[in-house]
Every structure is written in C-alpha cells, then in structure tokens.
C-alpha cells in the first residue's frame, strides 16, 4: 500500500520526507503514475506537492521570470509573459500532450522526468534557464544543462526537490520558437524537435543564436558549431541548409517505433529551415 501525503508547506514536506524514506515526490503524476503502473514498482509513499502554494507561483521582474515547479503547462499557456517573451516555451506547452495532460502536468515534472522527448527542455536550454533546488537543509541553483545529466537522470540528490525554474527574459527584439514533429497533433511523443532563440541586427545579421534539439540524442542536444556557423550571417535558405547538414551529422538519435535514427537526423536538420520564414 502506498501512503499518500498532502503537505501544506515545504517545512511540512521535509518532515514527511524524512519520516518516510523511499517515498516519491508527485506533482501532476502524469509521468509518475504511468511509470508505477508500467513497472509495477510502487513507492511506499507519495508526497504530493499540490497544496504547497510556494511551488505554484509565477513571479517576474524586468529581467527574470520565476516559475514555480508546480506550475502546470496550462498555466504557462495562459501566461502573457510566456506568450509574448518566451514564445519557444509557449510553443512547446501548446503541443505538449493534450488539454487534460496540460492541466495536470507541471514544468517541474517535465524537468525531473528528464526525457529526451520532454517538450519544455529544449526551450529551457536555449533560454539558459536555472533550476532552483531545495532540501531540508540546503538551497542551490544549477543551469538546466547541469541539472539534466542523462536520459531520465538529473543531478537531484535524495531529499531534494525542484522548487522553481528561473528564466532570464530575452532582450526585446529576440525571437524564439519551438518546432515539433510528432506522429499526430496531440498526445504524440516528439519524434524530433528544435528550440531556437535568436536576435538579428537591423540588417538581418544574426547576433545571437541558441539552438537545442529534442528526441535527437540521449538528452537535449546542443550544437555550438551550428550556432557558430549561423552567427554573423543572415538566415538565408542556403545558409540554413548548410547548417542543417551540420545538425544532421551532429545529433545522435536512436531508432524506435516512432521513427528511425536516419529520419530523426534529417528532420532535426530540416527544422532549422523553418527559420527562413520567421522574423
């Protein structure tokens, strides 16, 4: 039998966690419950975060938006700052799962699941998000790239939880997008995806560009050589096509029932071509 706890505060959570070793933190449960059913391995206790207000807050100042770990994808979808200034993240949550999944699933859960197909991850990479981590006795922050250490693996220690994600707000004039190739419009695990953040000067020359691919390797893939190749140039179709070749060669996807590695490589490169039409 699993014991289920609903702490009202972080302090209460720490107490429950230390009294119930081996238990699992549950946010929306859209990954956790699926995993429990599939493996049949039930943790002795579930620590549900849903009543801890601190984890549900979205706050922002001029420079940074702070998103509580228990903020659902639906709330991100409805948030105006996300919509206007973090478009890649907004794009990602708009194609994540389906309405019911978006109403339960959280950004913290998506991060901690650390799936190579996790839709919020590539945007969080290109925005240079920081993950705030706490335990009973400790607080620390790491970059999202440091946080995710492999497929399904994070740098969380036992007793730690993610409390929030901080995203620096891009300078005005920066564009960002997330493109997803899935097998249908909803409820489709990403076959290949790409997030981009870019800033052009008045002549259309790329000053800054950050790219990250999902479902293209064991974890989110970044390719500094592709970014380097595009920086200082306009995003002509030809330049993008050449960069796409670097991408296809640089990503390290796998074969599975959703798509072959060969296909994923080519699509990862092709997604770059969409930039020719964004401004």
């Amino acid at each position: 039998m699993m014991e289920i706890f609903f702490p009202d505060s972080l302090d209460e959570l720490w107490a429950i966690m230390s009294a119930n070793p081996g238990g699992a933190v549950m946010a929306g449960g859209t990954d956790l419950l699926v995993r429990i059913r599939k493996t049949g391995r039930k943790p002795p206790a579930l620590f549900c975060l849903e009543r801890i207000d601190e984890l549900k807050q979205i706050r922002e100042n001029e420079k940074v938006i702070f998103i509580g770990a228990y903020v659902t994808h639906q709330r991100l979808l409805e948030n105006l700052t996300v919509q206007k200034r973090l478009r890649a993240l907004w794009d990602a949550v708009s194609v994540l799962g389906s309405p019911p999944v978006r109403h339960s699933g959280t950004i913290g859960g998506n991060l901690c699941t650390a799936s190579p197909a996790g839709d919020t991850l590539p945007p969080l990479y290109v925005f240079g998000a920081e993950v705030d981590i706490r335990s009973k006795s400790n607080k620390r922050s790491v970059s999202v790239a440091e946080f995710i250490t492999g497929p399904g693996r994070t740098s969380l220690h036992s007793g730690e939880i993610v409390t929030r994600v901080s995203i620096p707000l891009p300078a005005p004039g920066t564009i960002s997008r997330y493109y997803k190739a899935g097998k249908r419009k909803a409820m489709a695990i990403t076959v290949a995806s790409m997030a981009v953040q870019a800033k052009k000067d008045e002549n259309g020359i790329i000053e800054l560009i950050k790219l990250a691919w999902g479902s293209a390797g064991a974890t989110v893939v970044t390719l500094p050589e592709a970014e380097e190749f595009l920086r200082g140039h306009t995003l002509s179709e030809e330049r993008l096509r050449q960069a796409g070749k670097l991408v296809s060669a640089g990503v390290t996807p796998i074969d599975d029932i959703r798509g072959s590695a060969a296909y994923r490589r080519m699509v990862a490169g092709n997604l770059l071509l969409r930039l020719a039409h964004e401004n």
């Binding site: 190739a181 097998k183 249908r184 419009k185 409820m187 296909y263 080519m266 699509v267 092709n270």
Partner: protein, 769 residues
C-alpha cells in the same frame, strides 16, 4: 420523396439521457453476488507447443477458485465468428480453434485462465502457472506463409499451404480477350496495414452458471444469438439453457465481436463452470489490442484496362490477406473485398481471386467495411493512375464508368438504386474540385492536394450467407407498444431507429414505443449487427411485425366500427376511417367513428385477447453508395501529412434518422483518416505486436479531426424499410484512397502502401529529390 411522421426525423435517441448521465449499463458495470474475476495467461511465443503446464501452485494461492487450461476445458473446435453459424452449404465454416489448446499460434494466444476473488489475486496467480514450451518456427507475412519452406500454422488447409478455407473466385466476360482489346492498361500491387477497431469498451463477459444448469452470459457481443449458438456447441449445452445478452449497451464494436468477444465469453463460462460462481472477464486494452480480431492486412493487385475514350473494359484483381493465427472471418473478408471492388464500375470483363492466409499473428476478422476499404484503396488508386494515363479528369472518368441501375454486375442481386453520380457531383462541388492542381506554387514547402475515392457496399450478407430477421411487436393493455428484436445497439442508434420504423409502420406515437434488444431469451433469432444490415434487415422485420399486428388491430376495430378493415388506418395511435379526419374525440358522441389503441387494447383484454405481431423476413440486398473527397497538406520538411477537409457524400437510401446517419458517417471518416495516414500494428522479428497501447497505436485525436462535411443523398431503395439501405460501414470505405489520391495530387508521388506515416512520406520525398 415521401414525408413521414417519425421516419426521416432526427428524434432524440432513446439512449441519450442514460448515456449522457452515465447511468447506461455496460458489461463492465455488472457485479453479481459471489462474482469472481478471471484473468488470462497469454503466450509469449508466436508459435510453440506446450510440453507441460502445471497450475497447482496457482490454485493453492488464497483467493483462487479455479484454473482452466486445455486439460479441463472442452476439446471442441469452433470459430468464434458468427460465420460458423451462417455459412451455407456447399461451403463449410472453418473451425480451427479451441478455448485453450496445447499449441499456441501467436503472441497473446490463450494458454490458461484463473478465477479469483479479485483481479489482483488472479493476476498474481497467473505468475505461478508453470508452462514449458517447445518453440516452433513462425511466419508473419501471408505471401511467405504460402511458400513451401515455411511452417504450417494449421494442418487442415484444403486450398493449399496455410490457406484458410475456400478461395473466392469471381468472373464475368473474358479477361484475356478483354485486356487485348484495351488501349490503356495499368497494373500495380498495393499493401494495406493491420488496423484495429479500438472500440471504447474492451472485450468483456460475465458468466453465471445456475444450479439448474442454465447459463447466463452478459457480454459485449454484437451478435448475441450466434454467440449463444457457438457457446452451445463448445460446451454442449442446449441453446434453450443458454441466455446471452448485452446489459443492454456495448461500448462500440466496429466488427470486432460478431460472435465471441475475443474469448471473453467462453473463458468466463469455462471458469464459472469450474468455480461454480459467476465469473467476470474484462480484457485490458493491451489484451484487446493483441488478442482480439483486427482488420486484415495484405496485398492487393489490380490490373485495369480502358478504351481510349475512358470506358473501362477489363479488370483483374487478386488479394492475399493475412488472417493471422485463426480464420475468424478470414474466408469472408477477401470475398467482400472482391465483390464490392468489382461492383463499383461497369466493366464487361472481370476476374478476381481472393484468399486469406494463416500466419503467426493476431487473428484478423471483421472490421467496419470488412475487406472493402482494403480493396477500394487499391482500386481507387488504380482508377486515378489510369485517369492520368488517359489524360482524363478523375471525377469525369468515374462519372463515365460507375454502375447504373440495371447494369450487369457480379453480385447475385440487382442494383435497384444508385445516387453515386449525385454523391460525386455534390462532393466535388463542396470540396472545390476546380481548385485542384492550382494549389501550389514552385518552392512551396507545404504542398496541398485534393483527391477522390468512391465505392459501394452491401446492406447485409444475403445471399452469400444465411441472413434472416425476426421481430415481435406486442400491444400492451394500455395501447403502448413493445418491440423485441435480437440486434444490439452498439452505439449505432438501433434502439432509436427501430422504434422509429415501428411507430411509422404502425401509425403510433414514438413515445408509446419501447424496445427490448440484444437478449436471446427475450427476442427471436437475429444475426446481430454486421454487414451494415441492422437497420435494413431488422427494420424490414419490424415493418413485417407492425403489419401483422396492424392487421389484427384493424380486423378487430372493423367489427367495432362496423366498416371493412380496408377502410381503416392508424394515425397517432388512433384507428380511424379513411377519408374522415381523425380527431381526438373525448365526448361520447355517437356513432363511434374512431377508436384509440388504448381503448381497443383494453377492450381486447377484457375479451381475453392481446395483439401480438410477428415479423419474419428474408432480406433482399441493396447497394449503398459513397464518394469521399479529401484535401490534404504535406509538409515536405518533415513528411507530415495533415488531412484538412473531408467531404463525405453518401447514398444510404431513405434516411431514418439524419443525425444518427451523420454520426455514423463522421465516425467512419475519422477511422478512414487513421487508416490512411497513421494507424497500423506492426510486429518485431519475434512476433510481438509493436503497437499494443494507445500511446503507440496512432488513432487520430480530437485535434487531428479534419473539417468534415457529411452530404446525404437520399434515394428510394425499394427493398429497404421505408427505402433505407445500409450505412454503418460505409463512412470509411473510400476515405483512404481519397486521401492518398490527394497526396498524389499534392506531391506527384504515388505511395502504394498505407498508412502515409511521416517517415514513409519523408523518405519518398527525399528519394525523388
């Protein structure tokens, strides 16, 4: 067309409130005192012999009440599909399956079952069953399975290695001569995937064995009477002691349970007999995916020839379908494929050979369209290919060649009505056919295209198979009317449309009609829902029963009103003299010129009489017609195909309930969209189904639903109730070729294999570039 009081109106469904409020009961809702839960142990091997099986440890587990294997269940071969009860001599049904056998033939085949006090205990007990297997060589592809070097899935195959049952051979004219006379000939082979019904309610049954030997089975069958007959045969119990019923609803079917629901019924009965307690068996979705009938996958070759002016002159088709480990409807699927494929166009020289082949995969059986969508995908692709070769517009070419009333065809009944030309014309207008081929500019990365597919179907299985219908109509002592029919309502609206037909035929108010359905004890024999027959056949039986009871009522009233019965009619539940307006006359004015059903029923009751009508019919058959037009979008950078719009124009004869018919069409179209672009079950090299869950099997989701327009073209079918024909299956028959032809129009690439999954499309685009 004639206007009716009740027929032709979108009256509220009888099941609407129950279903909307969640009070409608399904098999999965049933709970009986002392009820146990059954769980099934399934084969991990695609083909193996069971050397030993030991259930001792499982049976010792607390809470376990029975374990069933091939050792303690009947050794009677059967076919769980209704075909085994309606196949007519000289053909003989293929019976190739036991409840449990000592050979397993696909991953998921039943090895043993346990009944316990809970599902969890039953599941835990399964793990304690010790089975030793001897692996046997396996084969998965039907073309491989017929070659000499491959293993035999079943020994008794009269037509050749691994061929299940009889071949279908159809012929008209002279094909050899015909092709020699053609100016243009095309030939190609098409491949179709395994599609799954994915009805909402998984295979389920609850069996209760009474102390008196009577057995009651509540189940998800869409053919309760045949289900009862097959159970009777397997368990050697008189049919009179078996009652099979839906409770009364089923969460869909789409053909997956025309007979047994997988093996839910026989396993529940076997366990209940062993445990002497009621047993409930509910398949998980994974079990439903891997261990209940699928649509037949396979290969279809079409050779089509035409004269220069576009007149089709000769066709040769053949199909090899994969029927998996057991025949189920394996003989019939290629038969329907051929018959319906050849019935669309006027072609003087025709030839068809179809066969189903055993392999070590999940059995394939009936699914909406029943072979027809497979054949029509191939045929309608070929028609577009020949149109291109002839330099003709695909719409024009079809209009020129489609069957007209009176044309000779291979079917053993007449084409008495067709609205296909109107379907095509109205469909083409609605999709904007004239925009075709003008949608793309050079350099476009998203390509658009428009395509068409047309077809026909049947309205039941007669005269290929036994098909007859019965109905009882009882007038109660207050004049209200009860209908008893053995067909189910699996969401298709039968429990509304049949009362509509009764109310119209008898002249009573719909509100006074109630219906009992899908219960073998309370209704006379009916085959059930398949072959788009329910409204057409059961509807004709209801009309016959209504006429029978009407005659009794009018004869009785004639004496009271002192006029000959021919002068009487019934309207709004009042018997009146024709020519005199029927008024609701409550005063006691003499003489009596009319009498309500309420009064006459009560008078009869007081004279020890009840009006009971019996309808017994053998149906004719009739072709429904359909044209689908689709617009698609192809993303050349990812290979994704999106269906933007489908216009579905259908001639279903007289429509009994328009909203129900539109619902049938829309649901069918969406299944057709999935068939065309995303749904498939593939296997790995160990015979394991790769798409065995909702997140792997790509059904279109609500967000993938294209814009849809259902156009209803009403014709009057002289053989149908009030002019109705079948429609249930038609919604998905021509959808796939409409989409693949649109894909061709967009890209110039002819893919001969569905579904058009993104990777397949991407690779094809890349190959061409």
């Amino acid at each position: 067309m004639k206007n009716y009081n009740v027929v032709g109106h979108s009256v509220r469904r009888f099941d609407a409130v129950e279903k909307a409020t969640g009070t409608a009961t399904f098999t999965t809702d049933i709970k009986l005192p002392g009820m146990l839960y059954g769980k099934v142990l399934r084969s991990p091997h695609p083909h193996a012999r069971i050397i030993s099986i030991d259930t001792t440890e499982a049976e010792k587990m607390p809470g376990v009440k029975a374990a069933a294997t091939y050792k303690n269940t009947p050794r009677v071969k059967y076919n769980g599909a209704a075909t085994s009860m309606i196949t007519l001599p000289p053909m003989a049904p293929v019976e190739d399956q036991y409840v449990f056998d000592n050979v397993v033939r696909y991953v998921g085949d039943e090895v043993a079952a346990v009944a316990a006090i809970s599902e969890a205990v039953a599941e835990a007990a399964l793990k304690l069953i010790k089975v030793e297997y001897e692996a046997l060589p396996a084969v998965y592809d039907p073309l491989e399975a017929v070659s000499p070097a491959t293993p035999e899935v079943h020994k008794e195959c009269r037509e050749g290695k691994n061929i299940s049952g009889d071949l279908t051979k159809l012929n008209m004219g002279d094909v050899e001569k015909g092709f020699a006379e053609c100016d243009v000939v095309i030939e190609d082979t098409f491949k179709v995937p395994v599609q799954k019904q994915v009805q909402m309610e998984t295979q389920s049954a609850v069996a209760q064995v009474g102390l008196d030997g009577k057995i009651t089975v509540w189940s998800t069958t869409q053919a309760p009477h045949p289900c009862k007959m097959i159970l009777s045969k397997v368990f050697n119990i008189p049919q009179s002691k078996l009652r099979v019923l839906n409770p009364p609803y089923i969460g869909g079917g789409f053909g997956v349970r025309i007979g047994f629901s997988g093996k839910a019924e026989p396993i529940a009965v076997a366990l209940s007999m062993l445990a002497k307690r009621p047993v409930k068996v509910v398949y998980t979705r994974e079990e439903d995916f891997i261990a209940s009938d699928t649509r037949h996958a396979g290969y279809i070759t079409v050779k089509l020839g035409a004269k220069k002016d576009g007149a089709f002159h000769c066709i040769d088709m053949n199909a090899t379908l994969n029927t998996g480990a057991y025949a189920s409807w394996g003989v019939e699927a290629p038969a329907v494929l051929g018959c319906m494929g050849l019935a669309v166009y006027r072609i003087p020289n025709q030839n068809y050979i179809g066969r189903s082949v055993y392999t070590n995969t999940t059995p394939a059986g009936a699914m909406r369209g029943f072979g027809n969508p497979q054949g029509i995908f191939a045929l309608e692709s070929a028609v577009d290919m020949i149109a291109e070769k002839l330099g003709m517009d695909p719409v024009e070419l079809r209009l020129k060649n489609i069957i007209q009333v009176g044309d000779p065809w291979v079917l053993p009944y007449q084409c008495a009505s067709t609205g296909l030309a109107e379907c095509i014309e109205r469909g083409a207008k609605s999709i904007g056919w004239e925009r075709r081929s003008k949608l793309n500019r050079p350099g476009d990365k998203i390509l658009r295209g428009i395509g068409i597919g047309v077809g026909t179907h049947c309205s039941n299985a007669w005269p290929w198979f036994g098909d007859y219908s019965n109905a009882y109509v009882t007038v109660h002592q207050d004049g209200s009317v009860h209908l008893a029919t053995g067909v189910p309502d699996m969401g298709t609206g039968t429990s509304t449309t049949l009362p509509q037909i009764l109310a119209e035929a008898l002249g009573v108010e719909l509100e006074s009609v109630s219906i009992t359905f899908a219960d073998t004890q309370a209704t006379p024999f009916e085959i059930g829902s398949h072959a788009s027959r329910t409204c057409y056949c059961a509807g004709n039986a209801v009309v016959a029963a209504a006429q029978d009871v009407r005659k009794q009522l009018l004869d009785y009233a004639a004496e009271l009103l002192k006029v000959p019965p021919e002068k009487l009619d019934i309207k709004n539940s009042i018997i009146y003299i024709m020519g005199e307006t029927a008024v609701d006359c409550s005063c006691s004015c003499a003489p009596v010129r009319q009498i309500s059903l309420k009064e006459i029923a009560w008078r009869a009751h007081q004279q020890n009489k009840q009006f009971i009508g019996v309808g017994r019919i053998i149906p004719e058959n009739a072709p429904p017609w359909h044209a689908h037009l689709a617009e698609v979008e192809v993303d050349t950078e990812t290979g994704q195909v999106r269906v933007i719009k489908v216009v579905a124009a259908h001639d279903a004869g007289k429509v009994i309930n328009p909203v129900i018919v539109e619902g049938q069409i829309q649901g069918g179209v969406l299944q057709g969209v999935g068939y065309a672009i995303s749904e498939e079950i593939r296997y790995n090299d160990k015979g394991k189904q790769l798409h065995d869950a909702f997140h792997k099997y790509m059904l279109p989701t609500a967000e993938d639903v294209p814009e849809m327009e259902a156009i209803i073209v009403e014709t009057n079918e002289p053989t149908g109730p009030f002019g109705a024909k079948g429609v249930g299956e038609c919604g998905m028959v021509p959808t796939a070729p409409a989409i693949t032809n649109a894909f061709y129009n967009a890209t110039g690439i002819r893919l001969k294999e569905i579904p058009l999954t993104q990777e397949k499309v991407f690779m094809a685009l890349k190959e061409r570039a």
